[in-house]
Every structure is written in C-alpha cells, then in structure tokens.
C-alpha cells in the first residue's frame, strides 16, 4: 500500500502535472475528433453540393469520397497520436509518481 494519504497524492505537484497533462490531451483529441466527424455530418446535412463536386476534371470520384475515407483515417491517426504521447510521456510520469509514493 502507499505511504501517502490519497488526498495528499491528489495535491502532489507531480500527480497534478500528470493528471493535468492527461486531461488536456484527452480533451483536445476528443474535441478534434468531434469537429472532424460532426464537420462531415454537417456537410451531409447542410452542404451536399460541396461533397458532390468532382475531384478532377473528367474524373468520376467526388470530393465526398476522400473526405469520408479521410475521416476514417484521421480518426485512427488521432488514436496513434494519443498512444505516442502516452508511451513517451504519460508512462514516465506515472512511474515517477508511483516511485515517489511507494505504491
């Protein structure tokens, strides 16, 4: 068990840094995902002609196709960014706090 009380851990500077960083990145990435997806839904709801434009002169594909596929790919990229951050920063911070409190 830990040597410190839970309230004291919560007020510890390192723990605050860790939870603050984690909350910030989670909220930023969530908002990005919401903007990307509901931006796409918004285009379907309010601006179908935009999505129906041709990608290139004489081609058949519409702009809507890469936008839809891009939403899928970007969503995955965002999860990749989170993993990269968590592996590089978060795990290090967690280890540091754990050592400090002897958990």
């Amino acid at each position: 068990m830990t040597k410190m009380k839970k309230e004291d851990i919560l007020n510890d500077a390192d723990f605050k840094d860790l939870s603050g960083q984690k909350n910030t990145i989670s909220i930023i990435l969530t908002i990005l995902e919401l903007v990307i997806y509901f931006g796409f839904v918004g285009l379907i709801a309010y601006n179908k002609p935009f999505l129906a434009q041709k990608l290139s002169e004489g081609g058949a594909a519409t702009i809507g196709i890469p936008i839809a596929v891009g939403t899928i790919v970007l969503s995955w990229v965002l999860t990749g960014i989170y993993i990269w951050w968590a592996n590089a920063k978060y795990d290090v911070l967690v280890k540091k706090v754990k050592e400090k409190i002897g958990g």
Binding site: I44, A45, L51, T62, T71
Partner: protein, 593 residues
C-alpha cells in the same frame, strides 16, 4: 445475366464452416481446462495482449450486418453507404481518449464496476444491469434474425435450424470456454474476415487495373453521377446529427465492447488494444466500401437486388463472380463465423451483467464464493442462449433493422452518460446515476417506438400501405383520363380543315368539335374530383408522433440533464470524499485488478 448458386446448399461453404467449427470447438476444449475462476470466465485471466485484444475487439464489432450490410448499402445506394461506415468507426477514438484507461484501472469485469466505484453498489448495479441486458437482447435479436435469414440464403438451411445451430454453438463456446474461448473465436474470425475481404478487394481492383479512378468511372457510367454523391438517405439535418451522436457514443456504451478491456493485464495494454482495433476496423470499412462499389459494377444492382432486396448478398455475389464457387463458399463460411463470434461476445456480456451485477451485486449484496459466481454465470449463459434462440424464431420475417439503431441509441443514452460522469465528475451521486440510466433507457425506447421507424413502418404499416395503394390507384385513374382526353382531342377536326370545308360540312364539323370539347370539359371535372380525393387520402397518411428517425440527440441530452440535476439537487458528501481515491487509481493504476 449472372448465374448464381447462392441459396443452394454449397458443399464448399459447408466444408469451410465445419472446419471453423471443429477448430473453435478444439480451442473451447483447451480453454475449458483453463477456466476455473471468475477472472478466467469473465476476463480470460487478464492474459490477452493489446494486439490480440485489438483483433478481438475488431472481431466483436465487425458484425455480419456491417460486412454484408454496408457492402449491400454501397452497392445499391452508392455514397450513402459510405456515410454509415464512417459513423460506425468514430466512436473508437472516443473510447480511447475518455473511457479505456479509467475503465481498466477502476473496474473488474463490467462497466457497472466503474459506475458503482464510489457510489452505492445495489441500485447502481441493478440499473446498469438493466441497461446492459436491454442492449444485449436487442442486439442479439437483430443478429439472430439476420443470422437465420443469411444462412438460409447462403447455405439453403431452414431459418429455424440455422438459428438453433447458431445458438447451440454460441452457448458451447461461452459455457465451456468462457472469455478465453470467446476471445480466440473473435481473433480467428477477425483474421478470416480481414483476410477474405482483402483478397476480394485485390481481385476487384485487379479488374480495374488497380485504379480506384477506373472503378468510380465505371460506376458513374452505369448509375450516373448521383451514385457518387450523398443522396436521400439522410434527409433532415437534426436527424443526421442525431444518428451521428448515437453511432459515435453508442459504440462507447456497448457492454460487450467495454467488457473486453478487462481481458488485458493493464491500462497500457487497454489503450494499445483500441489503437489496433481502430486500425483494423477502419481498414475493414474501407475494404467493405470498395467491395460495395465493385459489386455494383461487376455484378450489377439488378442481380444483387434480385436475390435480396436489401443488397445483403452483394459481397458473396462479387466473390462468386471473381473467385468462383470456392471463394463464395469461403466467404459464406466467414460470414457465418462472424455471426457466431458476435453473438458469443454478446451472450458473455449479458451473462456477466446477470451474474456479476445482478446476482452477486444486488441479490447477494456483493458477497459470493468464486465457484458460486461462475456457476450462476454459466446458468445465465444457457438461459440467455435459449432466450436468444426463441426470440430469433419469434421475430422471423420481421423487419429488425431498427433494432440495431435502437441498440446504439440505448447504449449511447443509458450506459455512456452514467459511465462518463462517474469517471469525470466529482459531484455525481447514486441517485443521479440511477435516474440517468433509467431516463436514457426509457426515453430512447419510447421515442424510437413513436418515431417514423417504428410507428409508421411497423405499427401503422398496413394503414400506410392501404393509403399508398389508394393514392396509386387514384393516380392511375387520373392518368387514364389524360389518355382518354388526348384520344378525344385527336378526333377533333383542325381549324385548317374546317376552313377548307363547304358550309354544310363545316357546320357538322363544328358541332362535332363542340361535342368533343364538352366531353373534355367533363373529363377535366372528373380529374379534379380525383385530385381532391388524392389530397384527402394523402392527408390521412399516419404521422409519426416523434418526427426524428433516430432519438439519440434527445435521449442522450435527457440522460445527461437528469444525471446532473439530480446530483446537484441532492449532493452526497461520501461519494465526493471517495473521489480522491478514484482519481489516484484512475490515473496511476494503484490498486487496479
């Protein structure tokens, strides 16, 4: 026209399927020897790696409905099918950023563990179990009815027999092999499905010189440019957002998905598994959309819709065209395996809600021996399995497409808000959580029943059909009048001809013309009467009490509002004090199981 063997007993398909069943039953036998404790039964001993769990999550999520359904939707509706595939994916990043790590660190076997972490166990577990079981049952009915129909189409088996086979195998996996067997069934199925779909896409693109441009050009030539643009599937903006919300947050509230995070050893592996799952699922949807466009061009909409109006056979038909009977057989077996894997995951999630939350958490007040809990979970598995078989047969021939929408709406409204608030909000109380869950559940169900999806298409189906028929009859009658009038007008003598006539003939011709004109005027009056009747009939068309097809936007908002208001009106000091403990465990995993 393309000759297909779909709908006949296909020995290749049966061969592949038997091979799959034998393999999975051997795995189940192996898993059964390793399944003793609750940790084994519910969580595969927490021995699954992030990569394996990523595949298993993908296996749980990529249902036959999404494989066959999205390919079918794209092949028949074009771009609109793509909109759905995007919606099915976007919940995964939300799971990763907001849910996966806290869920893993705070809980043991079910998401109710997290909601109940610092609140009163019994009321929370009862409410969360209700939310889980309704989601599991609605999804199970949709999958079972789909299974019966698809297997009948692909293997030529009777509907009831198909459901009994599916249910029997599903019970065997879960009952004997618990989460270990279920996880490996998911992994094998995910690999088969991803492999089969990849091969099908390579063969398809091979027909177009590996150029998507050429594929789209052919599609445009056959079905005009409308095929590559958003069409009529999404009509009102509010409905579009409502559907989007339900798809996105429903994914983050599916009990069988949430449960999978307890099969990995720690939070790090949990988040890794979401990264792999999102990659596999996204890749799979891109393949499926390609298959849909390929089928529209290489098989043709007429053939696809001739076999199944919903287009569900687009993928298998394309496989038959490109790879013959062997590939068709393989893909049919994979589709069957897909259904089996999804219903197994659902049954296990339902059984854990019944035993871990309802029996141990509520009835035994949290105190029960390991052996007893495993025994109850196994009884629940058999009970749920038999219920699923019976409901599947009961709903034979019914339109169950709305059940998938209902599942996601309930998951997004009953499960997700309570789960999220319990993690992030210090002032959340027991009463707030319980009322939020029941509000989300009831509002989602009631609004969907009152929506056009159920109220018009199912409840008032006959009335709607009768009115549509009478309007069509009136239209036909009015068209007949138009033809009659045209014929009459042809018989009229032209002004030029009259001018060339002698006096006597002229008078006769003019009289004739006047008679015809009078008759035409009479017909015009008749037509007017018909038009009024048509308007009257159309006005009688039943209106849905709730205008949206998807209730997500209102039911989610209601669940959040009720949860917040009740928590603020009756604050709970004890729950707030325990928040420190929850935060420490959530962020650094101290004390996590």
């Amino acid at each position: 026209m393309h000759q297909t063997v779909i709908g006949q007993a296909n020995p290749v398909a049966i061969g592949f399927f038997v091979l799959f069943v034998i393999t999975t039953l051997v795995i189940t036998y192996w898993a059964a020897k390793r399944t003793r404790t609750t940790k084994d039964f519910y969580a595969a001993g927490r021995s699954i790696t992030g990569f394996q769990n990523g595949l298993a999550l993908a296996g749980d999520y990529m249902s036959a409905a999404s494989f066959l359904g999205i390919a079918g939707l794209v092949s028949t509706k074009g771009y609109d099918g793509l909109i759905y595939s995007v919606g099915w994916l976007v919940g995964w990043p939300i799971i990763m950023f907001l849910i996966s790590e806290p869920l893993r660190n705070l809980g043991k076997y079910t998401f109710a563990d997290v909601v109940a972490y610092r609140l009163q166990q019994r009321p929370i577990r009862a409410a969360a179990a209700a939310g889980s079981i309704v989601v599991v049952l609605t999804y199970l009915i949709a999958q079972m009815v789909g299974a019966g129909t698809l297997i009948k189409l692909m293997f030529g088996l009777p509907f009831e027999l198909a459901i009994v086979i599916t249910g029997g195998l599903m019970i065997s996996y879960v009952l004997f092999g618990g989460m270990i067997a279920t996880t490996w069934v998911q992994i094998i199925k995910a690999v088969l499905l991803l492999g089969g779909a990849t091969l099908l896409v390579i063969l398809t693109l091979g027909q177009f010189g590996f150029s998507y441009g050429a594929l789209f050009s052919q599609a445009e030539k056959l079905y005009t440019n409308k095929f590559l643009e958003p069409g009529g599937l999404v009509t009102s903006p509010v409905d579009a957002f409502s559907l989007g919300l339900a798809l996105m947050f429903g994914t983050a509230g599916l009990p069988h998905i949430l449960m999978r995070f307890y099969t990995v050893p720690d939070a790090k592996e949990a988040r890794k598994s979401v990264f792999y799952a999102t990659g596999f699922i996204g890749y799979f949807y891109i393949l499926t959309v390609t298959i849909g466009f390929g089928a529209a061009v290489l098989v043709g909409q007429k053939v696809i819709m001739g076999i199944d109006k919903g287009g569900n056979m687009a993928g298998p038909l394309l496989a038959e065209v490109l790879g013959g009977n062997v590939f068709l057989g393989f893909l049919s077996a994979v589709a069957f395996a897909t259904i089996l894997a999804v219903v197994s995951g659902l049954t296990l999630a339902g059984a854990s809600a019944l035993s871990h939350d309802l029996y141990v958490g509520v009835i035994r007040r949290g105190v029960a021996a390991e052996k007893e809990e495993v025994k109850v979970a196994k009884i629940a598995t058999v009970g749920l399995g038999i219920t699923a078989i019976l409901l599947g047969i009961l709903f034979k021939g019914q339109n169950v497409a709305f059940l998938v929408g209902l599942t996601f709406a309930i998951a997004a409204s009953a499960n997700f808000p309570a789960l999220l608030m319990s993690i992030v909000w210090k002032k959340f109380t027991t009463a707030g959580a319980v009322m939020s869950i029941y509000t989300g559940l009831i509002v989602a169900v009631v609004l969907l029943i009152l929506s056009p999806t159920v109220w018009i298409d199912i409840v008032k189906k006959d009335e709607k059909a009768a009115i549509e028929k009478s309007v069509a009859d009136l239209k036909a009658a009015s068209a007949a009048i138009d033809t009659q009038v045209a014929d009459m007008q042809k018989q009229m003598v032209s002004a030029d001809a009259i001018a060339a006539m002698k006096k006597k003939q002229k008078a006769a011709a003019e009289t004739k013309n006047a008679e015809i004109q009078a008759a035409v005027a009479g017909k015009a009056k008749e037509k007017e009467v018909l038009t009024t009747k048509m308007k009257e009939a159309s006005a009688k068309m039943p209106q849905a009490i709730f205008p949206l097809k998807n209730p997500g936007i209102y039911s989610m908002a209601a669940a959040f509002l009720v949860g917040i208001l009740i928590s603020l009106l009756a604050p709970n000091k004890e729950a707030q004090e325990k928040f420190a403990d929850e935060k420490v465990r959530e962020y650094i995993g101290i004390g996590a199981e």
